[in-house]
């Protein structure tokens, strides 16, 4: 904050970070739901989507949230009530913990862990617990099946995701998110340095594996077996209504946004532009205005990646459960292991 010539006290910085975290979670969720879920999906099906609430249906989200908020907060008779009520909050908490590691500018970050991406991959798994207990506590066979399927799927696809990240970590030589951004924007590919070295080029296989794993972690089609509305009603969300369903819904799309943020940091160069464009040498040279431009760059990269996630979601039919597991264990994980090994060898050779 010093570069903006404003001295913000510690409590002010904390307040800014909390507000920033809420914005960084809810703004992408709203943008994804309106731009992609309402509008893009409708256009891809040759219809217009919501048009009545506000110009071009832009206030549809307000109407939807208002509708969910006024619904009764129901729980089944035999449900394990306290756990049933906490479960959606656990899932949303995982999203908020995840956004903490994302840097939005040279100083615009929430925390700057030395092992940021490690922490991120660890807390991303917390949502599995929320989904599993939601399925269990609902006292409903559809919920239970959905919860078990979700647990199986999320665990299966966490491995290729972690292995895909290892390639990035080897190339960057750091688990620190800020350092990963800096490396991508200061290095060069075989002497060509006008683009820096965004890892999407040198780690393209890793990027593909990461995005497929993200698609599965978000339980978006074609990996929506846990929700599979034609066979499981709505999977682990079957018994939820009103406010708590809304939280599941927000968490789903907020997590999509946060994973897209993380993917843009890991593979697309994060908040920065290649340092050579402005003659910066290191992170210390980056001027303060990047704290304002950086979030905009991140937001556009996030929209680009979520566009791809949603595009795939609206185009493909659902995987069968066994195909889904086979794809993770027999194709993605060996591929990710090979990618890790080759990256390690290449790093030593060059």
């Amino acid at each position: 904050m010093g570069a903006l010539a404003i001295e913000v006290p510690y409590w002010g910085q904390s307040l800014l970070r909390v507000l920033g975290g809420v914005v960084a979670v809810l703004l992408p969720a709203g943008a994804i739901v309106y731009l992609f879920l309402f509008k893009m999906m409708s256009f891809m099906q040759s219809r217009l989507g919501p048009m009545e609430a506000g110009p071009y249906g832009s206030l549809q989200l307000v109407a939807e949230v208002g509708k969910w908020m006024q619904k009764e907060d129901l729980a089944p008779d035999h449900a394990d009530r306290s756990i049933f009520r906490i479960a959606p909050l656990v899932v949303l908490t995982s999203t908020f913990l995840l956004v903490v590691i994302v840097p939005f500018g040279p100083e615009a970050y929430f925390t700057n862990f030395a092992t940021g991406i490690f922490f991120g991959l660890a807390v991303a798994s917390v949502s599995v617990i929320g989904i599993l207990v939601a399925g269990w506590a609902s006292a409903n066979k559809y919920s239970l099946l959905g919860g078990l399927r979700a647990a199986g799927q999320l665990i299966a696809y966490e491995l290729p995701m972690v292995l895909a990240v290892i390639g990035v970590v080897i190339q960057a030589g750091s688990m620190n998110m800020q350092q990963i951004v800096v490396v991508q924007n200061t290095e060069s590919i075989f002497g060509i340095d006008w683009l820096g070295n965004p890892f999407i080029i040198t780690q393209f296989v890793g990027f593909l594996i990461f995005m497929i794993a993200v698609q599965a972690e978000l339980t978006q089609a074609p990996f929506d077996m846990p929700i599979a509305e034609s066979e499981l009603v709505s999977g682990y969300m079957t018994e939820y209504s009103g406010f708590r369903f809304l939280i599941f819904f927000i968490a789903e799309f907020a997590t999509a946004g946060v994973f897209a943020f993380i993917a843009s940091v890991l593979f697309l160069g994060g908040w920065a532009v290649p340092f050579s464009w402005f003659g910066w040498d290191s992170l210390a040279d980056v001027p303060g205005w990047m704290n304002l431009v950086g979030p905009l760059i991140m937001f556009s990269k996030m929209l680009l990646l979520t566009f791809v996630i949603m595009w795939v979601r609206f185009s493909y039919p659902r995987f069968r459960e066994d195909q889904l597991q086979t794809f993770a264990w027999k194709i993605l994980i060996p591929l990710a292991l090979a990618n890790t090994a080759i990256t390690a060898i290449m790093t030593v050779v060059f």
């Binding site: 409708s42 256009f43 891809m44 040759s46 219809r47 217009l48 595009w311 795939v312 185009s315 493909y316």
Partner: protein, 160 residues
């Protein structure tokens, strides 16, 4: 040219539809603001040409849902030729179709021997109360205006 994998082709289809929808508009109609124009021979509602009806009850008996109600009485009409006997005809008192029951099978239109029933493409007749869907013969008669002209007979067919 090498074959494009189906996965990429599928993405191409959805993206192509996205572009055409943004450029040329959607296939759907924003209904209350702009009216949909159904195909001219769409089966929207059944219209009654009251003058042709002889209250023969064939439509009532053929209706699978029993949604047509006819009441009539016998009356005397003036003779066709001067000096003849007055004719006995059926006078139609009531012809109701209950659209809450009707399943739009069109058997009544097919079975009518006097061309009194016709399909009309009109579709805007929903009612807040289900009882109001029982339409009487005046209302069914109003729809005759929207009935399209009968198609031309095939060459060689006997004209009625």
């Amino acid at each position: 040219m090498p074959k494009v994998p189906g996965l990429l082709k599928g993405l191409g289809v959805t993206f192509g539809t996205l572009v055409t929808t943004i450029k040329d508009g959607a296939n759907t109609v924003q209904y209350p603001h702009e009216k949909e124009s159904p195909p001219i021979r769409a089966r929207g509602v059944i219209a009654l040409h009251e003058g042709n009806c002889t209250a023969c009850m064939l439509c009532v008996r053929s209706c699978p849902d029993w949604c047509i109600y006819i009441e009539g009485h016998k009356t005397l009409a003036p003779p066709r030729r001067a000096g003849g006997k007055p004719r006995q005809v059926n006078h139609l008192d009531r012809f109701d179709i209950d659209y809450a029951l009707c399943m739009y099978c069109g058997i009544c239109v097919e079975v009518c021997p006097f061309d009194a029933l016709f399909w009309s493409p009109e579709y805007e007749y929903s009612e807040p109360k289900i009882a109001d869907l029982l339409h009487d013969k005046d209302k069914l008669g109003e729809w005759m205006e929207t009935v399209p002209e009968a198609p031309e007979l095939e060459a060689g067919a006997a004209a009625k």
